[in-house]
Symmetry: D2
Subunit: 264 residues, 4 copies
C-alpha cells in the first residue's frame, strides 16, 4: 500500500524555544520506505536531524518567537508483508533478545508493576502468544470508552484501568501495561493511521511475540488497514510529536493520510 | 445469638496524647443490645463518652505518656431479625431519606466519582436492589486477593480497583465506591466478627436498599454468622478504632469474639 | 453590608434527573440574614427544601428533560460583626466541641493524612492560632498559581501540593488539609463573593480557632470585603452547587454579586 | 581510593525463575576500575553477562527453585579525579548531546511533568549550573525525612514531593524530577557507598552540567567519600539489583563496603 501523509501545525511561541520534533515516518527496511519527504519550517529555521535512544528519526530546532508553521509531507510505501504464522509460545525472559528486556519494565505512563494482579485475573488463563495479546486489545476495546477531553497528558494506565475512559494514547498505555505485567515485552508506537476519524496523530502498541514485534491497536476491533510508524518508545513520554524546552501552544493541527491511487 | 467480645490493646505513647477510641459496640434497638460493657484504661485515665456526627459511641481520653493498656469487654445479644423480603427496586435519589444522600457522595477512601464507568461496565446490567449489591460483593470476593501487608492506611478504593489486593477495609471501600457510583447509598461499618482468622478488628459495608441498611461482607461468599457494629461512617477515616492527636504505637492487639454457650 | 445575589444557570438534561441544589445562602443568626429569597425553576418543577447532614439549605427536585433554567435571587444582610480578639492558643483535641472533631479527619479532596510532614515542615514553627492559619493561607496565595482549566473535579489537595496550580476550590482544599494535618479543625465553605473577577461561585475555608469558626480565603492577600456562606462541609464533595443523579450539562452560568446602595 | 565490596543475598524461589542481576560495579575508564570480580551463585547456575540499553553490566540467569545464594566480591579502584571547575551555565537543550535528551523526559518514578511549578517556585531563582542542582539536593536533604518502611516500591517522586518522607531511592527520584522539570538532564545511579549506616544498596543521582555527568547525593549534606556506580538509568525501574520474571523473596542481605588499607 502507498500512502500520502501531510501534516501542518501552526504554533505560537512566546520566546525562541529549543524544540524536538518527532513527526517524520521511520524508514524501516522491508516494511516502510519513504519517497520525497519534506519538512518545512516557517519562518525558516535550521533543523538538525538525529536519531534518539531508540533509533527514531528526530529533528532538533530553535523555533523562533511568534507564529511558526511546521509542515511535513511524505509518500510512504508499505509492502504487503508475508510473515510466518506466530507460534503460541510464552515470552521467555531467559531467551528474549536482551534489547527487548527494557520493554518488560514499568515506565512513566505504564505502571505495569501495579497492574499485575489485574492482568493475571483477566488474562492469566488465556493461551500464550498472539491470542493473549489480542485478547488484551479486545478487552480494552470493549471495556474502555473512547472519548476526547477526559484524559490528559498526565493520565496513565493506572488511571485508565480504574476510570475506563480515554483516547488512543491511553488505550495503548493500558495494553502495554497488561503485557508487561505478564512479562511480555511491549512498546508504544506513535504514528499515522489511514481512515482515522477525526484525523489526528495516532498511537498503538507492539508486543514482542515469537521473535518479532507485532502491532496491536486497541481502538479498533478490525486490524487497521494501514499504520505508519513514526517513533517507538516505552510510552508516550518518549514519542511526543513536539517537545518544547520552554513553552509552545498549538493553534491549529492538520493531519491528512490518504491512499495513493484510491481515487479520492 | 449471644457473643462475648474481648479486646486488649497495648500502646506506647511518647507523650501524653489526646485520643479518640471507637471500640465499643453500638447499642441498636431491636438489633444489638449490650450487657456488662467495661472499658478499662491502665494506668487509669478518665475518659469522656460521647456520640460523634454519625451517632457512634466514642470515648475521648488523654492517654498518659509511656505504656498504656486499653481493655474492652462486653456481651452482645443479637436477636434473630425477621425482615420482609427486599423488593428489587432501584435506589431513587428523589425519594431517599435526605439523611441517606450523604452516602451517595465520594469520600476519602471511596472515590466513587472516578469509578463510574467501571461500575456501570461491570454491574450496569444486573437487576437493581439486593441482587446488584450482592453481585458487587461477589465480584470483589472473586477478583480481589485478600492479603495482609500490601495495602496500608493510605490505600483507597481507586488503588484497590487497579491493584486488586487488600484486606477487609479495602474490600469494603471498593464495595462502597461501586454502590455510590451507581447512586446507591453505601456506608462503612467497623466492628467485630465471629470466626475471623486471624482474629482482628473487622470492616464491612452497608447499602441502603428498599428502605433499610443491609450489610454486605465482600471478604466472604457466605454471609458472616455474626457481625457486630461499632461505628458507621463514610469510610475508614470516620471509624478508626483509635485516633491519636499526636503519636501512638500499638505494641500488641488482641481481639477475641466467642459465641456464648458454644462450648468452646 | 447588604448584597444582592443573582444566579442564573441554564442546564441541558438528556432525561428527567433527580437533582440536589445547594445555591441558597444560609440564614445564620447574627451573621447573615436573607430578604426576599426566590428560587425559580423553568419549566416549573416542584422542589423540596431540606437541611443536609451539616444543616445546609438544600433543595431536591426532579428536573425535567431538555433545557432547564435555574434562577436564584436574594438580598443578604451581613451586620458588622464585633468579635473578641482571638487568643494565640493551640487547637486542643481534648477540649474541642466533639462536633468539631469530624473536621480534623481527612476527606475526599483533603488527604491531610498524607500531608503531615509537609505541614509541619512549613508551618510547625509558626505561633499557634490565627497566625498559623493566616500563614498557611498566605503561603498558598504565594506558592500556588491561580489558573482556570488545569485542575478539575478530580483534583485533590494532594495533587495541588505537588502541582502548585488551581482555582479557589483547590486553594481551599490545600488550606484545609494543612490545618487538619496540624490537628486544627478546618472545613470547606461554598458561597458567593463580592468583586470576584470573573464572577463565579466561590469557595474558601474556615478553621476552628479559640472557640469559633474563622474564615480564610487563600485566593487573596487582603481579607475579602464580603463572603456569603451557602454550604459548609468536609470538602467540595459536600458542597456542590448541583448534584445530578444522572447527567446534566451546564450551558450557561451567571453569578452576580452587587452591593446594595453602592451606586453601581 | 580503593574499596572492597562484598554482597551476599539469600533468596527463596518457589519455582525456577529467570532473573536479571544488576549488582556488579561498572568498569568506567579513568574513574572506576575493577580487580578480581567474582559472582558466585549457589546452587551453581550458569549466568549470561550482557550490557543493557544503558550499557550497564547485567547478568541473566535461570535461578533454580528453593534456597539460592548470590555472592559478589570485587575490589574497586577510584583514582582521585581532577576535573576542571564547572562553569555556571544553563543546560541548553539546543546543544546538549542528543544522548542526554532522554534524561530530560519524565519516567516511571520521576513525573517531572507534574512538578514543573514546584521546581520553578523553589529553584527558579537560583543561579544555573552546579549551584542550582546542589541547592536542589540540599533542599531535599533538609525537607525530606529519611526513614525506612514508609515508602515502598510503588512510591514515586510525586508522592515524595507531598509526603516528604522516604529513603535514598526516593531522595534520588525527587532530585531527578526537579532537575528535569527545569530542563536539566538527570539520571538515577544505583550502587554502593562507603560508610552507609545501616549498610545497604545505595542510590543517588547525576545531573548533566557543563558537559559532564556530576553526582549528587541528597541523603547527605557532605559529599560522600566514595560512591560506586553499578547501573545508571532513568529511575529505579531501570536499576533494580534483581528483577525476577516470576517471584523471588529476599531472606537475607549483606552489603559490605570497606576501604582497603583503612586498618579496620
Amino acid at each position: 500500500m502507498k500512502l500520502n501523509v501531510h501534516v501542518v501545525a501552526d504554533l505560537l511561541l512566546p520566546a525562541p524555544t529549543p524544540t524536538i520534533l518527532q513527526i517524520e515516518a521511520a524508514e524501516i527496511a522491508g516494511a516502510q520506505t519513504l519517497e520525497n519527504p519534506v519538512v518545512l519550517i516557517g519562518p525558516p529555521a535550521e533543523s538538525e536531524p538525529f536519531r534518539d535512544f531508540y533509533g527514531n528519526p528526530c529533528r532538533r530546532v530553535l523555533l523562533p518567537q511568534g507564529n511558526v508553521q511546521i509542515e511535513y509531507r511524505v509518500t510512504i510505501e508499505q509492502p504487503d508483508a508475508q510473515f510466518p504464522p506466530l507460534r503460541p509460545v510464552e515470552a521467555d525472559a531467559l531467551h528474549l533478545p536482551t534489547s527487548a528486556l527494557l520493554y518488560t519494565l514499568p515506565s512513566r505512563y505504564c505502571q505495569s508493576d501495579k497492574l499485575v494482579a489485574m492482568a493475571y485475573d483477566l488474562f492469566g488463563e488465556v493461551a500464550p502468544g498472539f491470542a493473549r495479546v489480542q485478547t488484551i486489545a479486545n478487552w480494552i476495546n470493549e471495556h474502555i470508552t473512547y472519548q476526547y477531553g477526559v484524559s490528559d497528558a498526565g493520565t496513565s494506565a493506572y488511571d485508565t484501568a480504574a476510570q475506563r475512559i480515554g483516547v488512543c494514547r491511553d488505550f495503548a498505555h493500558l495494553g502495554i501495561s497488561f503485557c508487561r505485567a505478564l512479562n511480555i515485552p511491549a512498546r508504544y508506537v506513535s504514528g499515522y493511521c489511514l481512515g482515522l476519524d477525526p484525523p489526528d496523530f495516532h498511537a498503538y502498541f507492539q508486543a514482542y511475540l515469537d521473535g518479532r514485534w507485532v502491532s496491536f491497536d486497541a481502538t479498533e476491533r478490525q486490524p487497521r488497514p494501514a499504520l505508519v510508524q513514526v517513533a517507538i518508545g516505552r510510552d508516550a513520554a518518549d514519542c511526543a510529536w513536539s517537545t518544547f524546552y520552554g513553552y509552545g501552544e498549538t493553534l491549529y493541527l492538520l493531519v491528512e493520510v490518504t491512499e495513493v491511487g484510491a481515487g479520492e
